[in-house]
C-alpha cells in the first residue's frame, strides 16, 4: 500500500517535472545497469597511507527502480607534517555506507540516496535527491540535485563537542553537439555552517602555536565546463576547466585533459593530466604578524599548485557463471603538490610532496 502510494507520488512528480522541462520528443533515459564493483584502493603521500576496499551492488526491479548499496573503508596511517610537528602519528579507520534508489519514468530519472560515514572522532550523515531529465529530442540532459549533510565533530579524549551542517545544490547540463562531441556544464553551490576546522590543527602567530580559529559559515561555488570527443572509432579526447570561489576568498582553477584508446579488442587505455592552481583564504597565514579574529594554517586553504599524471587500463575477462560480464581495471596517478606559502618547519623550506594513488578493481554487469 505504502509502496503503491510512493510509486504514484513519484510518477506524478516525474510527470510534473517532465512537463516543466519537456521541449522535444521522447528520448531514451534509462536506469543504471545492474552492476557490481569490488575495489582495492591505496594512497601514499605526505606521510599518510590510506588503503581499503570498496564494494558496490546495484540491481533493478521491474525495469522501473534500481536499488544500490555500497561500503567503503579507509584505513589511515597518519604521520603527515601537521601531525609530526604538533602531535604523534596515529592510525584510524573510516567506514562509509551508502544506500540508494533510482526511479525512471519516461524521460526522467529520480535518484535518492543516503550515506553514513563513521570514524573515531567524526560522524557524517547525508541525504541526496537528484533529478535528471532528457529534453530537446534527447540531445540535452538537465540535472538538478540537492544534498543535506549533518556532522558530529569530536576530539579524542574530549568526545563530540560540536556539529556542522552542509547544503549542496547542483545544476548540470549534458549537451550533444555533434554525432562525435558532447559538452557538459556543472554548477555546484555548497553552504556550510558549524565547526569547519580541525580541533587538532594549530596556527602560528608571532611564531607561537595557537589553536586555529575558522569562521562558522562558508559558501562556495564551483563551475565546471567540459567536453569529450571521438577522434575515430578507437580513440577519444576529453577535457574540462573548473573555477572555484568561496566566501573565504579561496580561488582555484582546475584543468584536466585526457586521451583514451582501444589498444586491442575490448582493452581500453586512458592517459590524463590534471593541473590545479589555488590562491589562499583571507585568514590563512603561514606565520601571522598580527592578532586577527580568524586565523588558520590549514594547507588546504593555502596557495599551491599541483600536477597529476594518471593512467588507466581496462580489460574484459569474459562471462563468468554464464551471465556476469566481468572487466578488470587498474588505475595509477602520481600527484606533485607544491606550496607557495606553507613552510616545512623541519627544513625551513617551502613544503612539497609527491603522492601516489592506486586503484585495482573488478566490475561485473549482469
Amino acid at each position: 500500500m505504502v509502496a503503491t502510494s510512493l510509486s504514484r507520488l513519484l510518477a506524478r512528480l516525474a510527470a510534473l517535472l517532465g512537463g516543466v522541462f519537456a521541449l522535444g520528443p521522447a528520448g531514451a533515459i534509462t536506469l543504471p545497469e545492474n552492476r557490481a564493483e569490488a575495489l582495492a584502493h591505496a594512497y601514499d603521500g605526505d606521510g599518510v597511507r590510506a588503503t581499503g576496499p570498496a564494494l558496490l551492488i546495484r540491481k533493478s526491479i521491474a525495469d522501473k527502480v534500481s536499488l544500490s548499496g555500497s561500503y567503503y573503508v579507509d584505513m589511515v596511517s597518519n604521520a603527515s607534517i601537521d601531525v609530526v610537528t604538533t602531535a604523534s602519528p596515529f592510525k584510524e579507520t573510516r567506514r562509509a555506507y551508502t544506500v540508494g534508489a533510482d526511479y525512471v519514468e519516461r524521460d526522467t530519472l529520480i535518484s535518492v540516496s543516503g550515506e553514513s560515514s563513521t570514524e573515531p572522532d567524526y560522524k557524517a550523515r547525508s541525504l541526496s535527491v537528484d533529478v535528471a531529465q532528457e529534453v530537446f529530442g534527447g540531445m540535452s540532459t538537465v540535472s538538478l540535485g540537492f544534498t543535506r549533510g549533518s556532522d558530529d565533530v569530536g576530539q579524542k579524549l574530549v568526545g563530540y563537542f560540536d556539529t556542522a551542517t552542509h547544503w549542496q545544490y547542483r545544476l548540470g547540463l549534458t549537451q550533444v553537439l555533434t554525432p562525435r562531441w558532447l559538452a557538459t556544464a556543472n554548477l555546484e553551490v555548497v553552504a556550510d555552517e558549524g565547526y569547519l576546522g580541525s580541533p587538532y590543527r594549530v596556527a602560528r602567530v608571532f611564531g607561537a602555536a595557537v589553536p586555529e580559529r575558522n569562521p562558522r559559515t562558508r559558501t562556495s561555488r564551483a563551475l565546471k565546463l567540459g567536453g569529450v570527443g571521438s577522434l575515430d572509432e578507437k580513440s577519444a579526447v576529453y577535457g574540462s576547466w573548473r573555477y572555484f570561489w568561496d566566501t573565504w576568498a579561496v580561488r582555484a582553477h582546475t584543468l584536466e585533459a585526457g586521451y583514451r584508446r582501444y589498444v586491442r579488442e575490448g582493452w581500453l587505455a586512458d592517459g590524463s593530466l590534471r593541473v590545479v592552481n589555488q590562491d589562499a583564504a583571507l585568514f590563512y597565514s603561514d606565520n601571522a604578524t598580527a592578532e586577527t579574529r580568524y586565523i588558520t594554517r590549514n594547507r588546504q586553504l593555502a596557495s599551491y599548485s599541483s600536477i597529476g599524471v594518471g593512467a588507466k587500463l581496462s580489460a574484459p575477462l569474459g562471462k563468468w557463471a554464464g551471465s556476469y560480464a566481468v572487466t578488470a581495471h587498474g588505475g595509477f596517478e602520481r600527484v606533485m603538490y607544491r606550496w607557495r606559502d606553507f613552510t616545512d618547519l623541519r627544513s625551513g623550506g617551502r613544503y612539497r610532496f609527491d603522492a601516489t594513488v592506486l586503484q585495482l578493481y573488478l566490475t561485473a554487469t549482469y
Partner: protein, 72 residues
C-alpha cells in the same frame, strides 16, 4: 512602405523559431561507446574524489557525490 516593417517583423519572428534537434537518435551510436563515458566506476570515482577533497580547498561540480569526513 508598410511592407518593409512587416517583412522585418516576419524575419525577426523567423529568427526566434525554436531550433530543432540536429543530431538524430540513429546518429548517436558513437556517443554511446564506453570510450565516450564522462564517468567511470562509481567506487573508483568516489575514491579519487575523496583523495582530492581532503587535500584541496576547491570542491564540487564534479558530478561525484561525496559524504563528509573529518579527514581534513
Amino acid at each position: 512602405m508598410r511592407t518593409i516593417p512587416l517583412l522585418a517583423l516576419a524575419a525577426l519572428l523567423g529568427a526566434c523559431a525554436a531550433p530543432e534537434p540536429w543530431v538524430k537518435p540513429y546518429e548517436r551510436e558513437r556517443l554511446a561507446d564506453p570510450i565516450m563515458q564522462l564517468s567511470g566506476a562509481a567506487t573508483a570515482d568516489k575514491h579519487r574524489e575523496h583523495v582530492r577533497v581532503v587535500r584541496e580547498g576547491a570542491r564540487g561540480a564534479t558530478g561525484v557525490q561525496g559524504g563528509g569526513c573529518g579527514c581534513n
